[in-house]
Symmetry: C2
Subunit: 299 residues, 2 copies
């Protein structure tokens, strides 16, 4: 099958269909590149694109899309609910097959440099970060587009690539490499939001919970149930089943049980297999025993 | 990705490497055909081949392998522990992707006819069977090679394809279409074989248990544990988790617990996902949310 990388660029346009289509066109009809889906959000005024394929081809398509976005989007006029710093807001590269994290860091650096050459200040983040304080995307993006006119002049926030001053039209771009995120929700048999909140605080890292879990309580009005909504930021180290079992244990003190769970969006096969192995008590299972995995290997 | 069929031919030669390699060569270096693995067994004097790919290409390769096997194997000299009726003993076609069971039945009929044209009496079995009494492979093969000189002359056992009399050199071949088998074992925290035997009898179809489960008790001498060894012959209707949970319930009456489980050989993704969904209590999960599945779809 060869090397496969997943890229999830976020563009700061979620309303103008013509602009969105022109940007997304950069990923269409290219041998070796698969446009999995794209989801424009009008409230956020933002479009998230899922694209996968041969690294060299994905990189070229990504730079072409960045060129289109910087030409078509004027950040000085952008409004939207989601935090953002540029027309091409964030570009993560995620390893899928026969690609290491180190290689994804190289892809991020190359694409960062090429987007920088379009006149856009570029910051490398997560695994590609040039300094520890640039690892976390939220820290990089802090201040947002409006704040970057000042932030970019600070000693510690000189861009990794591109001009050393703010580009008012394009804003700035974060390019990075990271492991796949797993968005996972647990729905509880209660309508008491305070219970979901309390459990979320116990299960998440900052509350002394699981190392790679971010969590918050959410009210599901239409179901009259509450939810612990999570991001598992490293499913290889903190598996889905561990989050489920810890939530069950915390919920038991309120006499509350799990009604159901939800995997949101894409999930790596390995993340699902690890939980299946735990619950099924599988010994010595190899993911290559899965027919579809073999089929993929043989491509 | 297009249509993908899985074929698992069994050849009656497990000792002579030169012969085995010549037969297996028919599946090698063919665009559109993937030789997944092959496992010669000296005791059984038999080789099981796993091959997958484009149906037209797999059919052609299968007929070429049958031609090689009928030329190189002399059944009148064959000895081995496994029941067998011919040099090409059995050829099942299994749907994998974008292929229906009806199409697999057509593949079985075409390949059966072409193997028949090599001078081999051919019986269609399972979903491809021409009569109800030919559905079960064990019924078709009953009497084995030695018994077929007489069996083939019986009113009800006229072959579906090929000559109406026994071929002493090649024996007979069964060609069919079936769903993927899941070989699944549950290891128990006890060394009492009678407990595994008793549970096997309760969990299997013929004992009033699950519709698509075949089971028997096995002693694992090296582990000092016993095992319920199963074949799930329709994982879509009798899921793996149901077998696990029923065995747990039956074992509880002896105070025995499950130590671990084993999936033997290949397993369809769907079979694993269904058990993950059950244990994780997943709501509305779609197998296409798995990154690797998307990747496969996009091929």
């Amino acid at each position: 099958m060869g090397k496969i990388v997943h890229c999830v660029p976020n563009f700061s346009e979620g309303r103008n269909e013509e602009v969105i289509e022109k940007i997304v066109d950069s990923f269409r009809n290219i041998e070796g590149v698969t446009l999995l889906n794209y989801s424009p959000d009008k409230d956020h005024n933002r479009t998230v694109v899922n694209v996968m394929g041969d690294p060299a081809k994905v990189k070229d398509a990504m730079v072409a899309a960045a060129k289109a976005a910087t030409e078509l989007i004027d950040m000085s006029k952008h409004e939207g609910a989601h935090p953002r710093m540029g027309a091409v807001d964030v570009v993560p590269f995620i390893p899928v097959a026969e690609v290491t994290m180190e290689e994804c860091v190289e892809y991020a650096k190359e694409v960062g440099e090429r987007i920088g050459a379009l006149g856009v200040p570029v910051y490398l983040y997560e695994e590609a970060a040039s300094k520890p304080e640039r690892k976390n995307l939220a820290d990089v993006r802090k201040g947002q587009y409006e704040g970057f006119f000042e932030k970019i002049t600070q000693e510690g926030w000189k861009p990794d690539f591109g001009p050393g001053e703010m580009n008012a039209k394009t804003g700035c771009t974060a390019v990075g490499a990271r492991i796949a995120l797993v968005a996972f929700n647990v729905n509880l048999n209660t309508d008491k939001l305070e219970i979901a909140d309390a459990i979320a605080k116990k299960v998440r890292f900052i509350g002394g919970g699981l190392r790679f879990v971010k969590a918050m309580g959410v009210m599901l009005e239409d179901r009259n149930q509450v939810q612990v909504s999570m991001n598992l930021v490293n499913y290889k180290k903190t598996s889905i089943y561990r989050a489920i079992e810890l939530i069950k244990a915390e919920a038991a003190r309120y006499g509350v049980t799990v009604y159901g769970t939800e995997l949101v969006g894409m999930v790596p096969l390995e993340a699902l297999v690890e939980s299946a192995e735990y619950y099924m008590q599988l010994e010595d299972f190899d993911v290559n025993q899965i027919i579809e995995k073999q089929l993929l290997n043989s491509k």
